[in-house]
Symmetry: C3
Subunit: 356 residues, 3 copies
């Protein structure tokens, strides 16, 4: 596919540079783009890296220094604009309909334009929205609802009458609606607490590969609109995730955790059950959050504490071995001073002081 | 489904309050239960929270204060009793038999009442116990044995001639019997150590979604009776897990780890290979256990140390930046004292002391 | 299967001990091997453990003390030799061809000797090399290439036109080629960055169960020849892994991380995006690597620092609560000294010193 540079500019709202006509066949990075490809540079990209690019044109931050012979397309949001240009080159996958080797129960309601791959399974009473793709080997349980324009990856399992919104992407191997981890000790065994609730995934959510979202014990485990969840993330029963939250790979939320809108949870973070994290908070990688977090706070460490405090403690810790030596030396010095002082006091009191 | 309150009380061994007849249609939380639902409160539940409930009746701890107009059913174990009431409302899934789109080898032995979902695969010589459910897309390898009354979730893989006990639940996407991670350096490459052993899962074990239990290199990787394993947990080759152990989400046990009966391992804990953890030990979240742990011990941190010590160190660490300042100030003070002392000594020795 | 001991010795290059003819039926550990089985002991294995073995013969390190009545086969690499003996007893799985219940697109190219299990799916234009096994329920996406002699486990998903080398093993439930986790904030939502690249897995790579290798945003996510990756490991987009790298269970590499040849990354380690780890570096369990690592370095902790420093800090931390007390005591002592000194100075200056 080729698109004319001026056409591209028009479609994404970029000012055309007025230069010669140029056919663009795709997008790439500064280092790999060829003369018929577009690349982008941010305000902070080093000038020599941009200058060395063979890209046919470069979307740059406003005010970026010109490079002789290189076509620049300045824009306030070069990365986002570049992403929008990339999308022009995406070839939409055509609907392939319901593969005859898929197992779709007759009571399932399948809207127009839905694709269901071979060996995928759609249970009784499930409802699948228009133009949604269900890839090979995915299992959609009885009574599950999936909105329009979703992509459900291969070998995904969606259970417990979960409800998935519109334009959601669930990547390969992920499970939604597994039982929450609830037991009560019954004197001689852990007795299972029936998990009777469900999962609601709102519109525009993306969930990576091999992640888990458990159904609620009662009620709903919820993932808010526009939130993005990476691979291998654990979301326990009755968690409530606000809108536009980011959960990076291998993070885990224990039961009944609440995340406010726009929270960013980095990789391998753990959040203790029933903790509430306020909107816009940012939790650093591998932190263990054990108490409620205020809106907008930045935390780090296990147990998680304010980022600045954690860094201060960390750099203090590096000085601790030296400090132990210093204090041992001080001890000796103080002891020596005390002895000298005692000697002096003895001299003083022993002397026949005429004035006392 | 409706059950009479007096009938419920009789079936779970609760003393009936003798009040008016009440039809109960289900259970819920204090906050969400309606007048035809049951809820429960523990000894520690705040009184106003209970009083505000619209539940038709509340199972409460013995001695819980009465609330005018609210029906209370006192019990020594309100949570467990509530769970048992919940179970009365579970609708048993009827056997659906072997779906014609499942692939069951002719040499597999399938007991009565077994359900096998579409696109599930049961290998040669596998044996499936009575009333067990194998959900869609699950793969049961050749020679695997599964006891009666189990639930094997969608897209589960059970391999290596593993043996699963009775009444086990294996949730979606979990793999049992994958090769252990064993290699020996052969001068110019990592040479694979053949993984020849198997896995034994004893009765009444529950394993969450997308977890992994590897086969032994030789012999058996074992999960003891009644143990409960959460989502995304890693259990390496030759691990031996005792009875009634709890392993919370994303915990990982390296090769040949042994966990005693009743151990509780919290989320994201890592245990180094060949470590033995004694019965009833409790390992705090995200800890890294690098040495054997005594029975009943409570550990925390990386490397894991006694919980109290870890907390003491943590709170000491918070005071370390201040301590660095204190010691710097002390240094100055000591230096000043030393100078003052030297001056005094000089004065003393310079003085023409008649008495010396 | 029985093999003669002298025959075994010849096939793996061991010097035969010249003893009586012995039929060996397999291998096992020192503790469990019977009189017709082989075991092995390393230089460090305690002598009594070896002496107690009932094994028919024991492969031992050179110079290992003899045990009367026990046959020893000395060798410079007893573990590796033992592994090679184990391999003699592996029964090769015969090709089972393409199961009629597999879904293989007609444009896929399937070489001779390939086995494809029931309910496995092979997409349009995929190419599968000779003698490769694709287990039940695996999904091989359109355009994916897999080399000869590979084993692709059940319920694996390989997507994004990924390329897998020869002799690779991908265990159950793993996903290769999922979208990278890339978003750009667009003022009111996280806008997805199209993930257009692919994954290349080189020859002789093994990947455990339920792991994830994401496709590149552009270009290639690469796993180098001979590298071994454990269960539940996360490899993000554009990661480049060198040859013979070890990644232990539940480790996670963020986007564009580079690992040099022979790096060893322990369990539950996290590596921040764009970090480069030099060849042969070793990262201790649960560490968080936040900056580039020199070749051959050994690191530990979060944030990761040189192993020795981390240990020194850790042992210093254990002494910190005591140090806080010491410094408080010093404060008191210094204060007392200062008072005594002041008293002395006062006495001195008050005295009618004839000589001043």
């Amino acid at each position: 596919m080729y698109l004319d540079l001026s056409d591209i500019c028009q479609r994404v709202g970029l000012a055309y540079d007025g230069g010669a006509r140029l056919s663009i066949q795709g997008v790439s990075t500064l280092g790999t783009a060829g003369p018929n490809e577009l690349a982008f540079a941010e305000a902070g990209t080093p000038q020599p890296e941009v200058a060395a690019s063979r890209a046919g044109a470069v979307v740059v931050a406003l005010g970026f220094s010109t490079v002789p012979g290189q076509r620049h397309l300045p824009n306030a949001s070069p990365r986002l604009t570049f992403v929008r240009i990339s999308e022009l080159f995406l070839v939409p996958e055509p609907s392939t309909g319901i593969d005859p080797r898929a197992a779709v129960e007759t009571t399932a309601q399948i809207a127009d334009g839905v694709s269901i791959g071979p060996c995928a399974v759609v249970g009784a009473g499930a409802r699948i929205g228009a133009d949604t793709r269900i890839e090979a080997g995915a299992v959609i349980g009885p009574g599950v609802q999936i909105g329009a324009d979703c992509r459900i990856g291969p070998n995904v399992s969606i259970l417990a009458q979960a409800s998935i919104g519109k334009r959601c992407i669930i990547h390969a191997g992920t499970t939604i609606g597994g039982d929450g981890f609830g037991f009560v000790w019954a004197g001689d065994h852990h007795h299972k607490v029936p998990q009777l609730g469900t999962v609601v995934i709102e519109d525009d959510v993306e969930i990576g590969c091999n992640a888990c979202v458990d159904r609620a014990a009662f009620g709903i485990t919820r993932v808010g609109r526009g939130s993005k969840i990476d691979n291998l993330v654990q979301i326990a029963h009755n968690v409530v995730i606000g809108e536009h939250v980011i959960l990076v790979s291998q993070a885990g939320l224990a039961g009944s955790v609440t995340l406010g809108r726009g929270t960013v949870v980095s990789g391998q973070v753990a959040v203790t059950d029933h903790v509430t994290i306020g909107p816009g908070a940012r939790i650093g990688g591998q932190s263990g959050v054990t108490a409620d977090v205020a809106a907008g706070a930045a935390l780090f460490g296990t147990p998680a504490r304010p980022l600045k405090q954690a860094f201060r403690e960390q750099s203090a810790l590096a000085r601790l071995p030296g400090l132990l030596k210093t204090v041992r030396r001080q001890d000796a010095t103080i002891e020596a001073l005390a002895q000298r002082l005692s000697a002096l006091e003895a001299t003083e009191s022993a002397s026949d002081k005429p004035q006392t």
